[in-house]
């Protein structure tokens, strides 16, 4: 049996017992055309045909697609182009610099954490950090050697009243703050979605007034690894004594919002910090951060090793 025949039968299997008359030849012809002639990826071909079935035969979309994507655990995701459903918590969102992406971040369940991308074309509702959802009918993908989840038009995101536990990945690092990114300091966020505005413009909501916020995106480097961290206003006030009010005052007095970033850089760059947090992808989610100082005993330890 050819691949096209096999996939056709799999689709027909799905609607068996339903009160619809679907011609096998009709499906098979389309399948062959897509796979053999146009060389469309199998998952795309299946999806296209299922959309066709919904449209032409009036089969309820949920029935077709729900059955299409089994509920799996993040740790079990290993192949690309698999349609799956996940029950997961949004671990972190970060700013995307692509207009094609509406949201990007990490989601996790008790088995692992994975990057997810919500494409702008998918027109999905926004998810929030810390909330749990069922991500139905999402497709697995790989980017730079790592698995990721794509949320597309056929996906459905439903919030669930359940707190999905994340795997214990708390780590503690002592490292130097070697860089602070340019979009740090006194920033404006979108009133609608909270994302950081770029010259007064939100990727999603266009030109908005926005509200002031203080944040730092920084790199902690321990000589072996680099960790990107995000400090919120509370973290910044604790480390520098500069809160949002003070930042606004600095900006007002100097007539320069960038003066805040300069001041924060002078106070934080090059210093050592002990950071406790969750490692998820390239980010370290800060739970605690404090200035780190050496102890005399540490010196003796190495001196002994040298003797």
């Amino acid at each position: 049996m050819s691949r096209a025949e096999k996939l056709t039968d799999q689709i027909l299997e799905r609607i068996k017992g339903k009160d619809v008359k679907v011609k096998r030849e009709d499906i098979l012809r389309r399948m062959k055309l897509l796979i053999e002639e146009f060389k469309v990826p199998e998952s795309e071909a299946v999806r296209t045909i299922m959309n066709y079935l919904v449209r032409e035969y009036g089969i309820p979309r949920e029935e077709l697609f729900d059955r299409d994507s089994p509920l799996v655990k993040i740790a079990d995701i290993s192949k690309v182009n698999q349609w799956v459903s996940l029950k997961a918590k949004v671990v972190q969102l970060w700013d995307s610099n692509s207009p094609n992406v509406s949201q990007v971040g990490l989601i996790g369940d008790e088995t692992g954490i994975v990057k997810f991308v919500v494409w702008a074309k998918a027109s999905q509702p926004e998810v929030e950090e810390g909330k749990s959802y069922i991500f139905r009918n999402v497709v697995t993908d790989s980017f730079q050697g790592r698995m990721q989840i794509n949320v597309t038009r056929t996906s459905r995101i439903e919030e669930i009243d359940e707190d999905i536990q994340l795997p214990p990945r708390e780590i503690e690092v002592v490292g130097s703050m070697v860089a602070i990114q340019q979009n740090s300091g006194l920033v404006k966020r979108c009133n609608e979605c909270g994302r950081v505005l770029n010259k007064g413009v939100c990727h999603q909501h266009g030109k908005v007034e926005g509200y002031d916020d203080l944040r730092i995106k920084a790199v902690i480097d321990d000589g072996e690894n680099v960790y990107e961290i995000i400090l919120n206003e509370e973290n910044i006030r604790e480390l520098t004594g500069i809160g949002l009010e003070d930042a606004l005052k600095i900006a007002h007095e100097t007539l320069d919002r960038n003066a805040v970033l300069l001041e924060l850089k002078n106070m934080l760059l090059g210093r050592y910090f002990r950071v406790k947090g969750l490692r998820g992808g390239r980010y370290l989610l800060v739970k605690e951060i404090s200035v780190h100082k050496p102890k005399a005993d540490d010196f003796n330890e190495i001196l002994e090793a040298l003797a």
Binding site: V226, K265, G270, Y272, P294, I302, L303
Partner: protein, 221 residues
């Protein structure tokens, strides 16, 4: 996006002896005598001197020293963040510096210099921890050299054939230089012991004319 390169910890003494460059996947690395592959460096040193290379060029040559030696850095318009702080900074000043090492041909030998990405004034505890950390990393590398572990280690033996004791001495010297400071700081920060006498109350401040406060009425009864 390419993964950000880690900033390696290397003492000036070792840095100055690093002359071999490696090109790999479009990135330039300096190989050090103990087998560290460095694309980016993090150092804490005293900025001894800044000198403009030519009048009004805004290109600066910096002379820096850690407890093991003196090295150079150059800052120009391609290092805007570092340039901004360097323009404001007075010498001498203790600084933390993140930058890229570059080897170039001098008149008689190869020289190494750092191009700082950023440079910022810091306090002594940063220097102390940096020395500790750099000592730890260097010692690990010395041990890897002894065990002949890894490709870069083999290459370092071939290129430099280093005397490892020289590097052990360097580590020891650096540690001893700052250890005393750390001990003094610890003593200063210790909480006062309980058996120490409490500060005496200063009654002088409460001198008053007795006549004004005749409390005898209150004491009756």
């Amino acid at each position: 996006m390419r993964r950000r390169e880690v900033a390696k910890r290397v003492f000036a003494y070792e840095l100055l002896r690093s002359t071999h460059q490696i090109e790999s996947e479009g990135l330039r690395y300096v190989l050090t005598p103990t087998g560290e592959r460095v694309n980016r460096i993090f150092s804490v040193a005293v900025l001894l001197d800044k000198e403009e290379i030519g009048a009004d060029t805004n290109n600066w040559r910096l002379r820096l020293a850690d407890p093991t030696g003196t090295f150079f850095a150059t800052v120009g318009k391609f290092q805007p963040e570092a340039l901004e702080t360097i323009n404001e900074m007075n010498v001498p000043e203790l600084v933390a510096i993140v930058g890229k090492p570059r080897v170039f041909e001098g008149v008689s030998r190869k020289l190494i210099s750092i191009r700082p990405e950023n440079i910022v004034a810091v306090d002594l505890s940063v220097r102390d921890y940096w020395v500790l950390e750099t000592a730890r990393r260097t010692l690990e590398r010395i041990e890897a050299m002894e065990k002949r572990e890894g490709e870069d280690v083999e290459l370092a033996w071939t290129v430099y054939d280093p005397d490892l004791n020289e590097y052990r001495d360097m580590v020891k010297k650096a540690l001893l230089t700052v250890k005393e400071d750390v001990e003094i700081m610890e003593k200063l920060e210790e909480p006062p012991r309980e058996d120490e006498p409490e500060e005496e109350f200063d009654f002088e401040e409460f001198e008053f004319e007795e006549e004004e406060f005749d409390l005898t009425d209150l004491l009756e009864d």
